[in-house]
Symmetry: C2
């Protein structure tokens, strides 16, 4: 059944459980009005997902909803921000009620987990395109940025790498044993709690959306440093290693996008503090920041490892 | 010439003149960080423009850039907010350098007029889609909303109505005498200054994007009241009246979208204050809020006027 624009807004998007005290005016006027806590910076992140560009066209609408919020929360995590509110610009080719309700259920299930309120947006007819803007808070002076990496800092990543790229490669496989990898693509885990703990620990941070090499390079360029990576130290999931050989797995871990893990740097004297993060997810130390510019991938025998690809280019 | 994603961001979108003191971190990290002044609410508005849905495919990129910001500033105006920062999610079928630079020049020319800084966004490949989120401030308790109209309040509108609808109808005319109308579609004037003055004057406000009848109905529904409109009092431009007959002009003024004028209500004892707005634009008193629900269009002889259409439906 086709719903009108206002029915979609009222029956679906205004039916959210989360109601925050810092939202003065939510959905339903020309704009939303909110309050930011004193002595806090407001962090704003925005990400667009387009069908057949950022997700396969047969991804379940529930997962598309989850994923479109998750990739934005991942950016908030990389800034060390505590999530608060979100806006949603949704373009739909038609107003298919069951699609919209499934999308919203995935979106809201993640929003509730972090007490995030949907406060506004826009609903238009057009090719399936989802733009989400997420907003969070960070105490003054405690934001995480890309530009603070120092020579000698350790390079770390959360979780495992390459799973989402493998999930995309195996998207059309009927074999259920690929399910874990496909789920890592469909429902990435934003590392919000880790981001909050990194505020006082990391010298720089970024989330891995375009692939480790491409995203670590953003840290290196912003910090005017170089790095060496230890290829054997890349954290690979059992599922990835079972399904792909060593060469494929490593290339996916280095160059595959969409993992939405955090890559960050810490001073070596803080290494012992990494244990505190393990309550939330595994953390691997995979390399070191160096003065020599450029990014070198090394094997334990000292030889250079040359990856096949080097990250997703949007154009 | 085709630019890469990072070249577009660096060479075009980071080349903005406006640099605000309340932007702690702008374009170039996982997110932006800003500060909101104390005792102020943060107003957030979001609007999407899609080619061939929200603008004709041969609209000049400079105008598309201008328009995509203007329609968002119009929402801020309707909230009584002072504009501050903006984010931009731009989907492009290809990375045509001259298109992008023209788009940005139109966007930035309006941004500079109001000291608005572009602080972030997303650039993706896909069907031409532009989502802008604009952010502004309103002193605590002074926001304009749709829900405050009272029985007896006067209904007013800024500027003239129906021009943009006529501009769209005449979009492919080669006759230059339609240029004024087409410009009203391509470059709507956000009524920011009027919105700021209405903070202490209006009981409700909305911007006219879907047509006067549709948008005034939002005020009526939110305020649980009805209204009568005086059709002869609709403010029509000379250009509109020269090109279209009375029936067409009135229908465009009542039902045509895209004017981005403000419709607001004020208590009758404040009528004399309307003069203060005339520094910025003309204001017409076009009707009155009534207890009887529904929206009635009346002619001066007391008869009812039935418009042909009743506003843009997105689905």
């Amino acid at each position: 059944m086709a719903l009108s624009e206002f029915e979609i807004i009222q029956q679906v998007f205004q039916q959210q459980k989360v109601q925050r005290a810092d939202v003065i005016l939510g959905i339903g006027d020309d704009g939303a009005v909110t309050k930011v806590p004193e002595n806090h910076g407001l962090v704003l992140v925005m990400d667009t997902l387009i069908e057949n560009v950022h997700f396969p066209d047969n991804m379940r609408p529930k997962d598309i909803g989850y994923r479109s919020l998750a990739v934005n929360l991942s950016d908030l995590a990389a800034m060390g921000a505590e999530p608060a509110w979100v806006t949603l610009a949704l373009s739909l080719p038609d107003s298919n009620e069951s699609w919209i309700k499934a999308f919203a259920s995935g979106f809201f299930s993640l929003a509730e987990q972090y007490n995030i309120q949907l406060i506004g947006g826009d609903l238009t007819r057009g090719p399936l395109t989802i733009t989400v803007q997420a907003h969070g808070f960070v105490p003054q002076g405690q934001k995480l940025v890309r530009s603070g990496a120092q020579v000698g800092d350790l390079i770390c990543v959360t979780g495992t790498l390459g799973d989402a790229a493998a999930g995309l490669t195996s998207w059309s496989e009927t074999d259920k044993s690929f399910e874990y990898l496909r789920q890592r693509l469909a429902r990435p885990t934003p590392r919000i709690e880790v981001g909050l703990m990194l505020r006082s620990l990391a010298s720089s941070a970024i989330d891995i959306s375009d692939g480790l090499l491409a995203d670590l390079n953003h840290i290196l360029n912003a910090s005017h440093v170089g790095a060496s990576l230890r290829v054997e130290h890349l954290p690979l999931s059992l599922a990835l290693c079972e399904k792909y050989d060593q060469l494929e797995s490593r290339d996916m871990a280095l160059s595959g996008g969409d993992d939405y893990e955090l890559c960050f740097t810490i001073a070596p004297e803080n290494r012992h503090l990494l244990d505190q993060l393990s309550e939330y997810t595994q953390v691997a130390e995979i390399g070191v920041i160096e003065a020599e510019r450029g990014l070198r991938c090394l094997l334990s025998n000292g030889s250079h490892y040359v990856p096949v690809e080097s990250g997703y280019q949007h154009f």
